[in-house]
């Protein structure tokens, strides 16, 4: 059975599983730091968490304005594009969400994104390219996907993932530096009796943890994209519209000009070259996979 309710449930569960995985990774890193460095290793933990929190939550709180500046999106009024506003109002009625702010990015590549920390601060933005390339049904699918991000609070989810991954990266960085400068391992601790294998293992854990955290963060982002597709169908009950829209994106080879990885995850289609990023690190499921899932939903309309 492929229907949007089952898909929403499965993707929500997987997100929780992945977030739990992040939590476990944090505990493993703390344990490794304790094993290798003793108490001093854990002393830097609050600093790492503090920096990660400060950097990510600042951008989370101001995401609506920050992302707009980074992507060059300009807010427009209803009179600037009444048809686009009509389509967004339709999706608002279908979802029961408030009307978001609407913005345009001057870019010929077809793409769109949603940001803002909550429903009241939501912004959805479209490139001039996507508005030209898509018909009414396709655009409605794209809008539903972006409004689904708003409904699922994906700015919050990605902020949580970014904070955890950031804290792990900082912690690992601090501790490996401490190691090079010979500080760290306190001799008065009973760690001297530790067996060397445990020490080597904890060192490997500390070095590899940031990569593991990045993998988890990308996996969470991919789940949220799949969830947004399913939620979009729950709004429009029309998997065909979004499927055709994704096919338009697939057929188009132009890519949004800003290739900043900092905001790569927010677009409906990843602006990074798919060949340059391996599937494990990519923030979006492959378009072909998303199209296949939507096709399966079309084949089963009585969902």
């Amino acid at each position: 059975m492929v229907n949007f309710r089952a898909l929403q449930l499965a993707n929500r569960r997987k997100t929780i599983g992945l977030l739990a995985g992040m939590g476990i990774l944090v505990l493993v890193v703390i344990y490794a730091a304790l094993t290798y460095f003793g108490k001093t290793g854990v002393g830097v933990l609050p600093i790492a968490v503090g920096i990660a929190l400060a950097s990510v939550w600042g951008s989370y709180y101001t995401s609506d304005t920050l992302v707009m500046t980074m992507t060059g999106a300009k807010v427009i009024q209803e009179s600037d594009n009444p048809k686009l506003f009509n389509l967004i109002q339709e999706v608002c009625l279908a979802s029961g969400l408030k009307m978001p702010k609407v913005a345009i990015v001057q870019d010929s590549a077809p793409n769109a994104f949603a940001t803002g920390r909550n429903e009241a601060h939501a912004v959805i933005a479209f490139t001039t390219g996507i508005l030209g390339a898509m018909d009414r049904n396709e655009l409605q699918g794209v809008i539903a996907h972006e409004m689904a991000h708003v409904a699922n609070r994906d700015t919050l989810v990605s902020a949580i993932a970014a904070t955890t991954a950031g804290a792990i990266a900082l912690l690992s960085d601090f501790l490996t530096r401490m190691m090079w400068f010979g500080g760290g391992r306190s001799r008065d601790d009973n760690n001297n009796q530790q067996n060397p294998i445990a020490l080597v293992v904890s060192l490997v854990v500390l070095i590899l943890a940031p990569i593991a955290a990045l993998l988890l963060r990308s996996a969470i982002s991919r789940r949220r994209e799949a969830l947004a597709d399913a939620t979009a169908v729950s709004f429009t009950r029309n998997p065909g519209g979004l499927r055709q829209a994704l096919e338009v994106l697939q057929a188009d080879s132009t890519v949004v000009h800003q290739r900043s990885t900092a905001v790569a995850h927010i677009w409906i289609e990843s602006p990074l070259d798919s060949s340059s990023v391996s599937k494990l690190f990519s923030t979006h499921p492959p378009l072909a996979e998303r199209i296949a899932t939507l096709r399966a939903m079309e084949a089963n309309p009585q969902a």
Binding site: N86, E90, L93, F235
Partner: protein
């Protein structure tokens, strides 16, 4: 001593549960009201488009009297409807009449090419979508309200919250009725 604390804890949990169930019922009931008024807003928008549409079609196809008259009649009926079943029935009649008028217009290329008609077309399609999404959202909220009202244990608080099951918005669509019957 410990038993008192346990009993106290259980009571606190029960009270918290009762409050949240009560609030959920009230909240859902309000959402259903809002969803229904949203349908009415969109139906009103559609009604407001009709005089303009009728005038435009008349200019090119004045002798399509039945189609034009049924739209005008449906509009008159829609303005007086109240209550979920009534509004839904009037809505269905209007959807039907509009579909008929648009089908008739297909035969008039001059009408279809006229600037007035082209301008109306976007308005008509967005309004048709808005009406149907508003219906869908209303029925979704009614479904979750009715589930909460009828299932245990939230059903225990429905009486206290004075919230009951609500009526679905069913539009009688002949297009569905004409679905082919398969006989074996």
């Amino acid at each position: 001593m410990t038993t008192t604390w346990i009993v106290l804890g259980v009571i606190v949990l029960l009270v918290l549960f009762a409050i949240s169930s009560y609030n959920r019922l009230i909240r859902l009931n309000v959402t259903v009201d809002e969803a229904f008024s949203q349908i009415e807003v969109q139906l009103k928008r559609r009604s407001d488009l009709i005089p303009n549409l009728v005038e435009t079609v008349k200019g090119y196809a004045a002798h399509e009297k039945t189609a034009l008259e049924s739209v005008v009649a449906a509009r008159a009926k829609a303005t007086t409807a109240s209550g979920v079943a009534d509004v839904a029935a009037a809505d269905g009649a209007m959807t039907q009449a509009l579909r008929g008028l648009l089908a008739v217009s297909e035969a008039y290329p001059d009408l279809k090419a006229s600037t007035n008609f082209l301008a109306l077309q976007e308005e008509l399609s967005t309004t048709e979508n808005k009406v149907s999404f508003a219906r869908q959202f209303y029925n979704d909220t009614v479904r979750s309200l009715n589930q909460t009202v009828k299932t245990f244990p939230s059903s225990l608080f429905a009486g206290a919250a004075k919230v009951g099951a609500r009526e679905f918005y069913v539009v009688d669509d002949p297009a569905n009725r004409q679905a082919p019957n398969v006989k074996f």
